[in-house]
């Protein structure tokens, strides 16, 4: 399973904002860490703002701030803002869909979709931040996030 670039950027940006709750981060700061243009990231942030996961603070020292609940917002919640998840559900017009072979294949694909959905629905942003700490190559004493 591979996420679209925009979806990945949204998750990365949210992690940065969650671990920096007292700071506003600009798209330039976040974009620099992940090697992506501010223009591309700005579009992603607009989607997150519409979903009320981040808010934009204007003026000097402004930027984006996380305003959701990191212990309740799951990866699935974020992903579904940007892309459909899974194999697309039943499409009666797809070739072979009404055959026994088509139904058997659909059963297997549904099993994969259900597992993926359950996994992504069980990882909150707060949990992902803990995972980030566990996968950080530097010692735990190193600073987290951009700062």
């Amino acid at each position: 399973m591979k996420l679209q670039i925009s979806t990945q950027l949204a998750i990365f940006a949210l992690v940065e904002l969650v671990v920096n709750p007292e700071h506003q981060l600009t798209v330039a700061e976040i974009g620099a860490k992940y090697g992506v243009s501010s223009h591309h990231l700005a579009k992603v942030m607009q989607v997150l703002a519409r979903a009320r996961l981040v808010r934009s603070i204007r003026g000097a020292g402004g930027g984006y701030q996380f305003c959701g609940n990191a212990r309740r917002t799951t990866l699935f919640d974020v992903i579904e803002l940007f892309e459909p998840l899974g194999s697309g559900g039943q499409d009666a017009s797809a070739p072979g869909e009404r055959t026994g072979e088509g139904r058997a294949l659909r059963t297997v694909m549904d099993e994969i979709d259900n597992t993926a959905r359950a996994t992504l629905s069980s990882i909150t942003l707060a949990t992902l931040c803990r995972l980030v700490d566990r996968h950080r190559p530097e010692p735990a004493s190193m600073s987290t996030g951009i700062r």
Partner: protein, 177 residues
């Protein structure tokens, strides 16, 4: 059922757990005690479970408690209890060391974990899980496992937040109708 390999040598007696966020946890008085379950707890355990699952299974909890007291099984049945003034049950956890089923090396299985709904998010579940984890570790167990229904978001989110990830096994089943 397996006899315990590396059966515990010293059972947990009781441990007071003080929360740093005591001010925000008035229902627990900011602290609680984790201790092994006793026969007089069964009524409260059964009632808490029945409130959450809508199923009463007192006999089941009695059987598990008996196993936890038997030297033939490495089973742990712990409860979280409010301070001395009320001594009300805040939650419980049950786990057991199982070996070589499904080809698995000895591991600690968490069978049940329940927390009184009014004191959730105050660290009771976290403390119970940490306590049983300590028991498993004391028995030289290096892997802890549990099983959660896909459509049960609350326990799924809890165990994930505690660092548990998908393991190397996939549960399979078949309708026998």
């Amino acid at each position: 059922m397996n006899k315990a390999s590396g059966k515990r040598t010293g059972h947990l007696r009781s441990r007071a757990v003080e929360r740093r966020d005591a001010a925000s946890a008035p229902e627990t008085g900011g602290k609680f005690v984790i201790r092994p379950a006793e026969p007089h707890d069964i009524g409260a355990i059964s009632a808490l479970d029945a409130r959450i699952t809508s199923l009463s299974k007192k006999r089941h909890w009695q059987d598990l408690l008996a196993r936890s007291k038997s030297l033939d099984f490495a089973q742990f049945f712990l409860v979280a209890e409010a301070p001395a003034s009320s001594k009300s049950l805040l939650g419980f956890i049950v786990g057991e060391i199982r070996a070589w089923e499904f080809g698995s090396a000895p591991s600690g299985w968490v069978y049940a974990l329940s927390v009184e709904p009014t004191v959730r998010e105050h660290g009771v579940g976290e403390a119970l899980l940490a306590a049983i984890e300590a028991e498993f570790k004391r028995c030289k167990i290096t892997k802890m496992r549990t099983m959660v229904a896909r459509d049960s978001p609350l326990p799924m989110l809890f165990f994930r937040a505690e660092g548990m990830m998908a393991g190397p096994y996939i549960q399979l089943e078949k309708d026998l109708t």
